[in-house]
Amino acid sequence: MSVLIQNLVRCAPGTRKRLLNDVSLDVPTGAFVALVGPSGAGKTTLLRAIAGLDTCESGSLLLDGQKVENMQDRARKIGFVFQNYALFPHMTVARNISFGLDVQPRAMRPSQGEIAARVQELLDLMQLPDMGKAYPARLSGGQRQRVALARALATGPGLLLLDEPFGALDPIVRRTIRSWLRSLHDRLGLTTILVTHDQEEALEVADRIVVMQQGSIMQDASPEELDKEPATAFVMEFLGESATFRGVVQDGWFTPEEDGVLPFAVAAEIAPGPADAMIRPFEITIASADLVQGQTVPISSQGVRNGYRHYLARLKDRTIAVHIPDYTGENVLSESYGVLDISRARLFRDGKRYS
């Protein structure tokens, strides 16, 4: 099911403060989209607006090109999983799952037998075949998560909305549920939109990432594109650890302000003037002091993690983390002094990508 959002505006209740500031988003059928951003960015607000949980000041929302007017209609099209699952504590797991079918008008409601069969089918799908008679309080976090998912899927929606679905789970369960969710999405042919504050999770599970900040969409791109071409300094920073070097562009060269960092050549069409060079720790390399001209800085080793050697370069006023792949076997830093090569950095001016 495709989702088309145009110019959505929502204000905080009773104020003029905009929680969603003119948001437009086009999600094609079958997409797996992650809404990411710091807390307060408006991702949950946007998700709730898509679900129709909150009213918006202006803008439009189309599902499969059509406006949805009433809630019954919406319920058949959308499945929603709440951050804390919102399972009904006084109902068994089976009753929780069948709720969306039980409340349908008599004319449309499947027979008791059909409902029971559907519940069992969903329980099997969620790998909880024997849990139908249990009450939610007895379940573990991961099990509750899957019951909430089953409940959301009971009416056979084409669109699945998930609000921080992995937030309350421990790291190992998180990883398994994540890949399982992805396979479920593919198998059922769903369109899925999920909210998370964990950018790594988003990069791993989604095929499209929407980065939000202060009620607006900053960038909407595939994980690869996002990684390669972050649109703003904020996106660059949000997606992972990064270092910023202030400097000046002149005559086709970027010259950092600080000592111990090498200048590098930039495209000729870049206008001269001050700019920020942003780079990830594993994109920095360390040039040996013997080979280059310039002021060297002290560099200390921090050990090896995840196949990377971690170093700290001590510039004049701060330290910069540098991660070097460990497969080389070479002893890059026999000496404890060196110069940073940041030629793989991206240039930003006033927070915007400069190209």
Binding site: G52, F82, F99, V103, T155
Partner: protein
């Protein structure tokens, strides 16, 4: 250490002495006065037709109070806990107001509206509708006095439960009554039960408000508390205290019943 022990014992003795004199003696007096001449004469007094009429009227008034104040109380609790709207806090204060109004005043206000000198009293009287010094007046006074109990027991709980479950139900396609009946009320059933029982106890025992609007016509507009007053003032001590025992038993069992859900949970936990 020894001094500490002695102090503790003194605390215990003094506390229980206070409890015995202040709290335990009054109910003991009620029963002992009722049974002053033995159980036979006490039971005999209950056969008085005016007394039986008073019991029936009390039950009727309680049922009406519970029905009306539960229906509207649930809707008000829903309104006050599931939406943030301007005027919400004012409404919260408003529904608790009857708790801080003197019972006599709670009766008086209805006379100001429906009494002979009231705003609409004469018009209604001409239409043949008697409110003041009749059963409808008693109902109104009791409804006013018992109005807050269901709302005020429901609101804190429903507020704490938030609206996630309701939103989940809505997204599953449930309508208003389905959400209320299947999700909200089952989740708040203990509080609802408690609120209904408090309403019942208060409705049965209300004296001041009802006294003002009733007119004290034996057999017609006397509830149990009013009948107790008449009997007591008529020096029918045994009858008065027998009726008082019955009324106290009714009201207090309603209050005590509130703990039943808690006992059940505790018993279940012990089993498991």
């Amino acid at each position: 250490m020894g001094r500490c022990r002695v102090k503790t014992y003194i605390l215990w003795v003094v506390s229980w002495a206070v409890i015995a004199i202040v709290l335990l003696m009054p109910p003991a007096v009620v029963v002992s006065e009722a049974l002053k001449n033995g159980i036979g004469p006490a039971l005999e007094t209950l056969k008085d037709p005016d007394g039986i009429a008073a019991i029936w009227l009390t039950l009727e008034v309680s049922v009406v109070s519970v029905a009306v104040n539960t229906l509207f109380g649930v809707l008000a609790a829903w309104l006050l806990t599931k939406y943030l709207f301007p005027g919400r806090s004012a409404l919260l204060v408003l529904v608790e107001l009857p708790l801080s109004i003197s019972p006599v005043v709670s009766g008086l206000v209805w006379l100001l509206l429906f009494g002979a000198q009231g705003w609409w009293g004469q018009a209604l009287e001409q239409a043949g509708i008697h409110v003041a010094f009749a059963v409808p007046g008693i109902m109104l006074a009791t409804l006013f006095v018992t109005l807050p109990y269901v709302v005020r027991t429901l609101v804190p709980l429903m507020e704490q439960q938030g609206r996630d479950a309701e939103e989940a139900a809505m997204l599953a396609g449930a309508g208003f009554w389905q959400i209320l009946w299947r999700v909200t009320l089952p989740g708040a059933r203990v509080a609802l039960f408690s609120g209904i029982l408090l309403t019942t106890a208060r409705a049965m025992g209300e004296f001041g408000a009802v006294s003002v609007v009733s007119g004290h016509i034996p057999g017609l507009t006397e509830t149990m508390p009013l009948h107790i007053e008449s009997l007591y003032n008529g020096y029918q001590t045994v009858a008065a205290f027998t009726m008082a025992t019955l009324l106290a038993a009714m009201a207090m069992s309603a209050v005590l019943l509130r703990s039943v859900p808690e006992w059940i949970t505790r018993w279940r936990e012990k089993q498991a």
